[in-house]
Symmetry: C2
Subunit: 217 residues, 2 copies
């Protein structure tokens, strides 16, 4: 364990955010769900149980020591602006996949190269940016089942990355260091491939697993 920092899940009333929050809270983490509406956040927190609390996104980000952002690409900029005053010096975990509807099966990385690098640019260097959870099917993560998907964790700060790998493990997933934040492009683009695989091969939530014999890092 690398300490038990309080976790905020911004956009935590969405499918992915609620699933992450629930798994972490169930594992014993103190987790706060954030939403644009504090009332909606409290409602989802109460439904999920495990001691979860609900606040506005800004208040959740202020309370959390590690802040996980789980919003659609179209909401990334506004959401990061909302939490920016509250995350200086903290670890922000961006889960944004740059899907551009309606063509969500086409990889459409932003000009910055990835949503994670865009997020870092939006929040500035005072924030330690990590990205993760791009390839996990939210509806599987919402259960207690084995998700069958590794989580690649990206970030330029190795220590911050390790804390997020630890979070993925608490959530019952295998988290793996995936290298620098720029490498987030791989997992972000892969999500469009997985959506394509779901459609083409009739898969209920395709995922990825890294093969090969891995030693402890």
């Amino acid at each position: 364990m690398t300490g038990m920092e309080k976790v905020a899940v911004v956009g935590g009333t969405g499918k992915l955010g609620a699933a992450i929050a629930r798994r972490l809270a169930k594992a014993g983490r103190e987790v706060i769900i954030g939403s644009r509406s504090a009332e909606a956040a409290r409602k989802v927190a109460d439904e999920l149980g495990f001691g979860l609390r609900g606040l506005t996104n800004a208040a959740a980000a202020a309370a959390g020591e590690i802040v996980i952002v789980t919003v659609p690409f179209a909401a990334q900029e506004a959401t990061l602006a909302e939490i920016a005053p509250h995350v200086a010096g903290k670890i922000v975990v961006d889960t944004t996949v740059p899907l551009v509807p309606p063509k969500v099966m086409r990889a459409q990385l932003p000009p910055e190269g990835s949503a994670a690098v865009r997020g870092q640019a939006l929040l500035g260097e005072g924030v330690t940016m990590v990205s993760a959870f791009h390839n996990v099917a939210a509806h599987k993560l919402a259960t207690d089942d084995d998700v069958g998907c590794d989580v690649l964790v990206f970030g330029d700060d190795k220590g911050a990355r390790a804390k997020v790998v630890e979070l993925t493990n608490e959530a019952g997933l295998r988290g793996l260091h995936g290298g620098a934040l720029v490498n987030s492009a791989a997992a972000e683009a892969l999500t469009s491939v997985l959506i394509f695989l779901n459609k083409t091969y009739g898969v209920d939530g395709a995922g990825i697993q890294i093969t090969g014999k891995l030693r402890e890092p």
Copy 2:
């Protein structure tokens, strides 16, 4: 089977090219190895056996009906220019990963978005571009062992993609339709992640597998 088109492997004296050529020839395909030097190509073809022949890259591309290009990113442009007069109307399978030494563990996709899209732009619309084989460790592919890595196949022409999926199957791999050519960015960037994983976790050739129950497409 989707027919037995003759396959040319341009840059086939390199590790990846030789490994692909050997597996396909062993499976009964007619395969020609191309190299800048016809003599070098013949030498490698003779060493590999299985009826492989060696020619210059241009002559191999002229003889092949499906042309697999296996050269480093730095050689992609010159190599495609070399074969361009000989591949009109054919399927060209680009395996290029845009690694930029010395920082090969950092995803550095080209301005076009991917090496595959860059390749299509270099060869023009008269060529049916497909990309594949980005994530397979060449030294594993050179053996008869199970490589333990799925091959994602990208391209805008579904029929051409299916022929390349068939080639990957002949080579003893599980090939999967990965969608449009732009999606090649995912597999190309992932190679840098795999190199990072090899170093960080002491893996001898990390790969990926798609998880979930896949039906026939």
